[in-house]
């Protein structure tokens, strides 16, 4: 989990960056409701700040290299999660959706009671499972717009070429939102939790002196 997590972080960053280099060439997406455009992806100052314009060829070259690493890393994570049995701790169960609500209330300091927490709490189960599905979605919609003729059935499944491109774009926005919330939560969760994602263990303070050895 740790390895794939940290491998994924730079890969996804590169995929989003190179994706923006590509998107710039035809930046048509907006959020428009009743004729009023609320958000235009993306404003010119944003492009200029990140040196995005006129790098389509470069963006494609990066995108079509790192797509391999993104896919392999994702595959590796899924296989690991299946074979280690960790999927039991990850996938939401029948209580999760109710509990996730309690987690939300707790995190927003509306409720005081602490919701049940194993490796992941209910909200984490949902969020982390969703992000894997999103990753798979990016892979599939990406392939659908990358090889729409050879993989025509995939493009059909994604609702056509233009629609697949829209989903691909929305998923990317989703990652950015996920990332923001994720960072806030990591900071709130504190050092012990963060360390565990790097070193793979957690330290727990216990009162009984008998249990100070490791099984």
């Amino acid at each position: 989990m740790r390895w794939t997590h940290w491998v994924n972080f730079p890969i996804l960053a590169i995929m989003i960056w190179s994706g923006m280099l590509i998107y710039w060439a035809n930046d048509v997406y907006t959020v428009t409701i009743f004729g009023h455009t609320f958000v235009r992806f993306f404003p010119n100052w944003f492009y200029k700040a990140l040196h995005i314009p006129s790098r389509l060829a470069e963006g494609m070259a990066f995108h079509f290299l790192f797509m391999w690493f993104f896919a392999l890393n994702g595959l590796f994570y899924v296989l690991y999660t299946i074979f280690s049995g960790e999927w039991r701790l990850l996938l939401p169960n029948r209580h999760s959706f109710k509990e996730a609500w309690l987690v939300l209330l707790h995190d927003l300091h509306i409720r005081k009671t602490t919701p049940p927490q194993k490796k992941y709490n209910a909200a984490q189960r949902i969020a982390y499972s969703a992000i894997i599905i999103m990753g798979f979605g990016s892979l599939v919609t990406g392939l659908a717009i990358y090889k729409p003729v050879q993989l025509y059935w995939l493009t059909w499944l994604c609702g056509g070429y233009s629609f697949a491109r829209i989903i691909h774009f929305i998923l990317t926005i989703g990652y950015v939102l996920f990332f923001i919330i994720h960072i806030v939560q990591v900071i709130l969760a504190g050092w012990n939790n963060f360390r565990s994602v790097i070193s793979g263990f957690e330290v727990e303070e216990i009162s009984e002196p008998k249990e100070n050895t490791i099984p």
Binding site: A61, I198, G200, E204
Partner: protein, 279 residues
């Protein structure tokens, strides 16, 4: 007191790999604090070293020199290699049976997008003098008129034209299927080579296609758009429509067709784009 909570799966897996031997006991059992300190050092050390390596690798790639200019140019050298390797992988799933989706004529755009006029700016070009140049089977150059091409069986296609920039548009084209053209002019022998090159009459725009894509059943030399003669802006009198490629390969105003076993020069591949650009 402190207790370590560890990943039991990895520990078991590790022991299995080591041959199910119990881990050697250290002479002096370490205190939990020592273990924590030790493993923190080890894992954070690894984290920062690998992070540094990854960052260094990224810097190297980002600053890697451009490839030597040839048939392809202006891409980072390692990225060009990756593009070419990726081409080999995706060529394996290429099939004449994989057809681009077609639409009813009513879905075709009335106002067809014109994206580029490179290779069509020669003011001395006279449509009535236009001939398609191909080297015939006897080695003598063929000069084919548009009337001759129009006598061949007509193939129509309404499909979603896809630009490398990201836009797409449903368009209606008609002309002669490339394979029919080759057959009619008995060019099979030359066309057995790996690549087909197309150039505009002024030689300012040029593309190369792998043989398989050129002979794909939906690849046509088009002289009609929306049931009318192709307009100047769209490459009159004859243009390439190759639905298994991005728009950049769909050359307008074909002047000559050549065959070769090496990649013919390609305008956008010289600008850093993938040579294959297959869909």
């Amino acid at each position: 007191m402190k207790k370590l909570i560890e990943n039991q799966f990895l520990i078991k897996l590790f022991r299995k790999i080591r041959g199910a031997k119990k881990p050697k006991k250290p002479k002096m059992p370490l205190t939990v604090e020592q273990k924590i300190a030790r493993r923190n050092l080890l894992s954070f050390g690894t984290f920062f070293v690998l992070g540094g390596v990854a960052f260094g690798g990224w810097k190297w790639l980002l600053n890697s020199p451009a490839e030597q200019a040839g048939v392809t140019a202006r891409a980072h050298k390692p990225l060009r290699r990756a593009l070419n390797q990726t081409e080999l992988f995706f060529k394996r799933i290429f099939s004449d049976n994989h057809l681009v989706r077609t639409y009813p004529k009513s879905r075709a755009a009335r106002r067809v997008r014109e994206n580029s006029h490179i290779g069509m700016r020669d003011p001395s070009f006279k449509p009535e003098d236009w001939r398609l140049s191909v080297t015939g089977s006897d080695g003598n150059p063929l000069k084919i008129t548009i009337e001759e091409i129009k006598t061949l069986p007509k193939t129509e296609i309404v499909y979603d034209f896809k630009c490398v920039e990201g836009w797409d548009q449903i368009q209606h084209w008609a002309g002669v299927r490339f394979s029919d053209f080759i057959q009619h002019f008995q060019l099979e022998e030359q066309a057995g080579k790996s690549y087909v090159g197309f150039e505009t009459p002024d030689g300012k725009y040029y593309v190369g296609l792998d043989r398989e894509s050129a002979f794909h059943p939906q690849t046509i030399l088009a002289y009609e758009m929306n049931d009318q003669a192709v307009t100047d802006g769209h490459g009159a009198p004859l243009r390439l429509i190759v639905p298994v490629k991005y728009g950049i390969k769909n050359l307008k105003r074909i002047g000559s067709i050549t065959f070769s076993d090496t990649r013919p020069r390609d305008y956008w591949a010289e600008q850093g784009y993938d040579y294959y650009s297959g869909l």
